[in-house]
Every structure is written in structure tokens, then in C-alpha cells.
Amino acid sequence: MNARLLLGVLAVLAAPLPGCRREAPVAPLEKLETAGDGFYAAGEYEQAEASYRKALEIGAQRPRLQNNLGDSLLRQGKTGAAQAAYRKALEQDPEYLFAMNNLVLALYRGGERDAARQLLAKAQMNWPQVSFFYSTAGYLHYLEGDHPAALKAFQEAIRLNPSSPAALNNTGALLLENPASDLDPLPYLMRAIEKDPDNVLFRDTLGWYYFKKGMFAEATIEIGKAFLYDPKNLEVRVHFATVLEWIGKEREALEQWTKVLELADDERVKRLAHEHYWDLQGRGVTAAAN
């Protein structure tokens, strides 16, 4: 579920950047920037970083480039360098709110939690109508285990921007994890999918909701789609294997559990896969011939 909530952050990092300064087009610079964006979208963060750095070497003062460089660095876990890039972006444009939000995340990940909180509080005070600051606040509350505060922040983000897919999904995921008496996760999850239909984690969350409710046909569709979109995602594979078992596709489920056992590093996931694997084997289920 943590990975799902992380999406709030990723959505902000990967979001297009409206309102950024546009300067006169310089052909090589544009090419490098486009190449960097392409590498970033493909998950090749080192190459994205290299492209952005080359673009910056050309000499353009572009806060967007600095911000994107920061994103590539943050994705690689280089929190210090990412913070520096975001700070440079803010020097060039002090009202570059995406960079400000990203700096909060970089600070938090770098262990500077108080600094992150202070910056976020300042941002929320100066720009109280900006929804993604509340999304980020909700995510930080979630990481700290304060689920009621996280829910409140996500809901405020939705109030300010009812089309925020990350806030919608995160609210749904949080409610799925911690059922509340008067709120149902489904409207949030359905709206999140409407806004971002190709999102693997959104599909998986919705599918898992259906599974828990015993809506196995719907769960198979949603989790099946998520699995098709991203077969590398282990959490999605675990959900897919579970659903396959419940719809009677036990051979296919055994194959998936075998794969989970091969790929999992997390002990908890390994134990779960082991349990299912032996349960199926113990019932005489054998893997389908390739």
C-alpha cells in the first residue's frame, strides 16, 4: 500500500509543468531536454540526468531543467544533489511551486524532516489554494503513521482539486487499509481511474477493493489489466495470483506464486507466496506446461 501512496509523489514528479517559463527555442537544448524527458519516462534516470546536465551546460537558465534534473536525481536516491537542483530552480523562479513541493520530498527523504515540514507549512500558508501541497502533507502524515491526519490532508487536496488522481487514489487506498464508518473507498478509486485510466497502481487498488468485497469478476479485470501494464510489479503479481486462485485458475495461480517466490526479497511476501505455493501443491495442483 505504501507503494500506492508513493504514487502521489510520483504523480507530482512526473506531472507536466504548466506555467513554467518558456524561452526562445534553442534547437540542441530542446533536443537534450526532450531526450531527458524520454529517458525519465522510460525509467532510465541516469541517462535522463546526463541529458539534463548537458542541457544545463549549454548555459540556459531554465528552472524547469533544474527541476527535472532534481527529479532524476531523487529517483536515483541522490537526495542531496536533488535538493541542490530544486534549490537552483527556486532561485531562478521563487514561485516555481512544483520545485518547492519536490524540495519538500527531497528534504524528507534525506532525513531533514523538520526542514521539510517547515517548508511545506510555509508553502501551504503562502499558497493555501494549491492542492498538491496537501497531497504531499497527506503522504508525509501517512509515512509517520498518522492516518487520520493523512486522510484529512488528502481530502483537502480533493476539495481544492477534485480531479487530482493521486489524492483520490491515496484517499481510497487509505480507506481500504483503515475502513472509516462514513466513507467508502470506491467513489475515490473510481474517480482516480477516470482521471488516469492507464495507471497500474490505481487499477490494482481498485481491483483489490473489488477482491475484498467478493466481486471477483471485477477484481480479475482490474488486477489483470494492472498486471498486463506492469508485470514487473511484485505487489500487483501477488494480487493477480490471489485472484486467480479465487476464480479457480489454480494452475495459473501456482505459476504466479512460483514467480513471486523467485523474485521476492521481502520476507513477508516470501512467506505469503510459500504458504500459497504449498497449499496449491498440497492439493495436487501442478503448474501448466509451457
Binding site: P187, R191, K213, H274, G282, R283, G284
Partner: protein, 443 residues
């Protein structure tokens, strides 16, 4: 409603239109008058007959439907004329989906007079009608997670289905003619969104509720709210119906005092998503629930489909808080229970619990990793460890040993009988399948 005043049409010479019309003599034969008179009489008889028949059946006549279509078309045109350009852009049409169909269910599109067979996954738009015949059921799912379950012999009309493009506020409404429905309306993501049920004599605005509505042919309506809150408005009377209350609305738009409904019992067994292995192909599932004060009996239903369309177990005579099901074969089941009060009214059903029965005829494996017989001062001892199927129980020489969640077991057994040559290791899986292994105990 504001109407746009038509401008008078002017001719070049400044004369008015009416000046171009005048009297003219038309000759009509006596025979033609008779024929047209007969046709007119037949038409009047057909219209009156259709209205009377529809009234006797408690449905809407074709004539009323045609008039309704015409009126809606005029209303839409008026709305288009009177709305400002901004307003027109603000609202976006949404859709609902027919998510479940069982038996004879038919759909009539807003733009079509013909009824067509309803299919799973069919999209429904504003103005579409859904009718269920005897023993038929349907479920309509909305894009915000709201669900309407339509029981047999019902007729509903999808009303508003809009979203304000700017504020994202959604308005949904459903008109209920003679019908029996259950609704599960969830709290909306965006404040100000509304779900409305329009009954013949009242409207119900729902913020969040699980409820049922039954509209009888005499236009009396029964509204039962199991959880949440519903605002009823008859035009002359407004009543808030809250958790576990039921009211009747008369044909004269009078709402009775709310009466209590029983709460849903909490199912303590089976657990959600529990698996019941069976070595024989069938398994008895024990069901237990917390007793509800004031309950005369309990209604328990078990169904292979989540809509409880064709329950495999349906009992409404259970007096205690437990029940052993008959043997259930392999498959997925949904279990739900409700309390019945002294008046015979069924309260809210507990959230259905999905469970499954799996067939397991394979005995568990036993893998002995170490089996050592030691001769000590106190006699012979056996050190044994190994693995079996997770969830199985193991006994060694008749003595139970602890098996961990991965199936690993380990034990030291003391005081072996003198002369005992063999020791039996027995594993029993959750389905009851047995596996035995004999180990020699010669030191």
C-alpha cells in the same frame, strides 16, 4: 421558465402576415366525413383503452410515454434557448451501467419507443428505462460507485446524470414507477453532489445510505433506511429518515411516523475470504453471528453469486445465532444474515462474506530431515524434524508435535517403550487427508 418572444415577421411593403390569409370554400363529401369520424372514434377509444389498461397495471401508457418524450424534447429545447453559453458548457452527461441481469430485463432508450433485451455491461443514459419482469433482477452501477438493485416487476427511469465540468459536482436521479429497489449510495467525493430518487408522491435526497424502496400499484411507497440518512419531501411534508428506520408514504403524500428496523447481525464465522478444504468434495460451513435484541428470527442466505440471485441456502426460521450449512461443493459462496423483527420485517443484511470450498484429495507429504534414536540414562529418545504441508497437523508415535506456518516440525520424544521397533509419523491436512510413515527405531 423564460420564453424567448418571437419577433413579428415584416414584409417589404410593411404589411403584416395575417393580411395574406383569407376565407375559401372547401367541399367535403358526406362519405369522407363518415370515414374520418370513424377513424377519429377508434383513435379516441385506443387512447382511452391504453390509459385505462396502464392504470390497471400500475405502469405508464404508451400515450403518456409519447407525451413525456415530447415534453422532454420541448424542455430540452427551451433549456437550450434560455441557458447562457457558460451554463451549457458547464454540464457534462454521464452514464450508468447495467452490471447484472437475471431473467427477463428490458431497456427502453430515451430516444426509442421499442423495448430491447437488457445485457450485462449495457450503458444507460439519462431518460433510459429499465424494467424487470417476474423473477427477474437487475443491477445498475453508477460511475461513482453507487448501486441500484432492481427487484422483480419493477420499472425505473434514469433521470439526471450530469457532472459540472468546473466544480465536478455530480447530480444523479432515478425515477421509480411501480418498483421495488435496493440502493447503496456512497458519500460523494465532491461536496454538493446529489443522488435523488423520485417516487410518485415524494422525492428522496440521499447523501449516503443503504436503503430499500417499494412502490406499490396503489402508489403507496415504503422507504426503509438501513444506514445513512435520507431526506424525504412530498411537497407538503419533509422528513429525515435515518439509520434503521422505515416509513410509509401514502398516495395522498402523507408520511407515517418512522418505525424501527433491526440492525444487521455481525457474522463472526465464517471469516471473509476464508477457504474450506474438503477431502470428500463437500464441506459443512459453521455460521455464527451475534444475536440482535428484539429479533424474532434470522434470515440466512448463501449464494454462489454475489447478487444472491439464486441462493443455495435460504432460511428465515433460524432462532439462534448459529447454523451449520448443508454440505457445500467446490466453489465460491457469499454468506449474509439479517434479523427479522416481531412484525416480520427483515432488517439490514450484514455485509456479505465471501468464502470458498476447495477440493483436496491429496494426502499431505512428510519429509523427514532428521530422525535419530539416542540411548540416554533415562532410556531411549528420538530426535525428529522435517517438513509437511503448511496447515497440516503432525503426530509422532501418537504424540502431537508443533508445526510452524511453513510446515516445519521438530520434536524430541522421550520414554520409548523397550522393544518398540517402529514409530508412526502421521500428518493430517486441513481437508482431513492422512499420510503415515513408519520409521525404524533401532539404536
Amino acid at each position: 421558465m423564460r420564453y424567448r418572444q418571437p419577433e413579428p415577421r415584416r414584409t417589404d411593403d410593411g404589411s403584416k402576415d395575417e393580411k395574406r390569409f383569407g376565407w375559401r370554400l372547401i367541399r367535403v363529401s358526406h362519405f369522407a366525413v363518415k370515414v374520418w369520424g370513424a377513424i377519429l372514434l377508434l383513435l379516441i377509444l385506443a387512447v382511452v383503452g391504453s390509459i385505462l389498461y396502464a392504470r390497471s397495471q400500475g405502469t405508464e401508457s404508451i400515450i403518456a410515454r409519447v407525451i413525456g418524450l415530447a415534453r422532454r424534447s420541448i424542455d430540452q429545447r427551451i433549456a437550450l434557448i434560455t441557458a447562457s453559453p457558460d451554463e451549457k458548457e458547464l454540464v457534462e452527461q454521464r452514464f450508468a451501467t447495467l452490471t447484472f441481469v437475471s431473467g427477463r430485463v428490458e431497456i427502453q432508450r430515451a430516444t426509442d419507443l421499442a423495448w430491447k433485451s437488457g445485457q450485462d455491461g449495457m450503458r444507460l443514459a439519462s431518460g433510459d428505462r429499465v424494467r424487470t419482469f417476474a423473477s427477474a433482477r437487475a443491477e445498475v452501477g453508477f460511475d461513482d460507485g453507487n448501486v441500484l438493485r432492481i427487484k422483480p416487476d419493477s420499472l425505473i427511469v434514469i433521470g439526471d446524470l450530469t457532472e459540472n465540468v468546473r466544480t465536478k459536482v455530480r447530480k444523479s436521479s432515478v425515477r421509480l414507477l411501480v418498483s421495488s429497489i435496493e440502493a447503496d449510495i456512497k458519500k460523494s467525493v465532491v461536496r454538493g453532489s446529489q443522488f435523488r430518487l423520485e417516487m410518485p408522491t415524494a422525492t428522496a435526497d440521499i447523501d449516503k445510505a443503504r436503503m430499500s424502496v417499494e412502490i406499490r400499484p396503489d402508489k403507496q411507497s415504503q422507504v426503509s433506511v438501513y444506514s445513512g440518512q435520507v431526506a424525504l419531501d412530498t411537497g407538503s411534508q419533509q422528513v429525515q429518515v435515518t439509520d434503521r428506520k422505515t416509513v410509509m408514504i401514502s398516495a395522498l403524500k402523507e408520511i407515517t411516523s418512522p418505525e424501527n428496523l433491526l440492525p444487521a447481525p455481525r457474522l463472526s464465522a465464517p471469516k471473509p475470504l476464508e477457504t474450506f478444504p474438503s477431502a470428500t468434495g463437500g464441506v459443512v460451513i459453521p455460521c455464527t453471528w451475534d444475536p440482535v435484541p428484539g429479533a424474532r428470527a434470522y434470515r440466512l442466505e448463501i449464494s454462489a453469486d454475489r447478487f444472491f440471485d439464486k441462493p443455495v441456502v435460504s432460511r428465515d426460521d433460524l432462532r439462534t445465532g448459529s447454523f451449520m450449512t448443508p454440505s457445500l461443493g467446490q466453489g465460491v459462496y457469499h454468506v449474509r444474515v439479517a434479523a427479522i423483527d416481531a412484525q416480520g420485517r427483515t432488517g439490514d443484511f450484514a455485509e456479505p462474506v465471501p468464502v470458498r470450498v476447495v477440493v483436496d484429495r491429496q494426502p499431505p507429504f512428510i519429509e523427514i530431515q532428521k530422525f535419530v534414536v539416542l540411548q540416554t540414562g533415562r532410556g531411549r529418545e528420538v530426535l525428529v524434524n522435517g517438513r509437511t504441508e503448511p496447515g497440516a497437523t503432525v503426530s509422532v508415535g501418537g504424540r502431537p508435535v508443533v508445526v510452524d506456518e511453513t510446515g516445519y516440525f521438530s520434536a524430541v520424544l522421550k520414554g520409548l517403550a523397550v522393544g518398540q521397533a517402529e514409530m508412526e509419523i502421521l500428518a493430517r491436512d486441513r481437508a482431513g487427508n492422512l499420510k503415515t510413515l513408519l520409521q525404524k527405531v533401532q539404536s
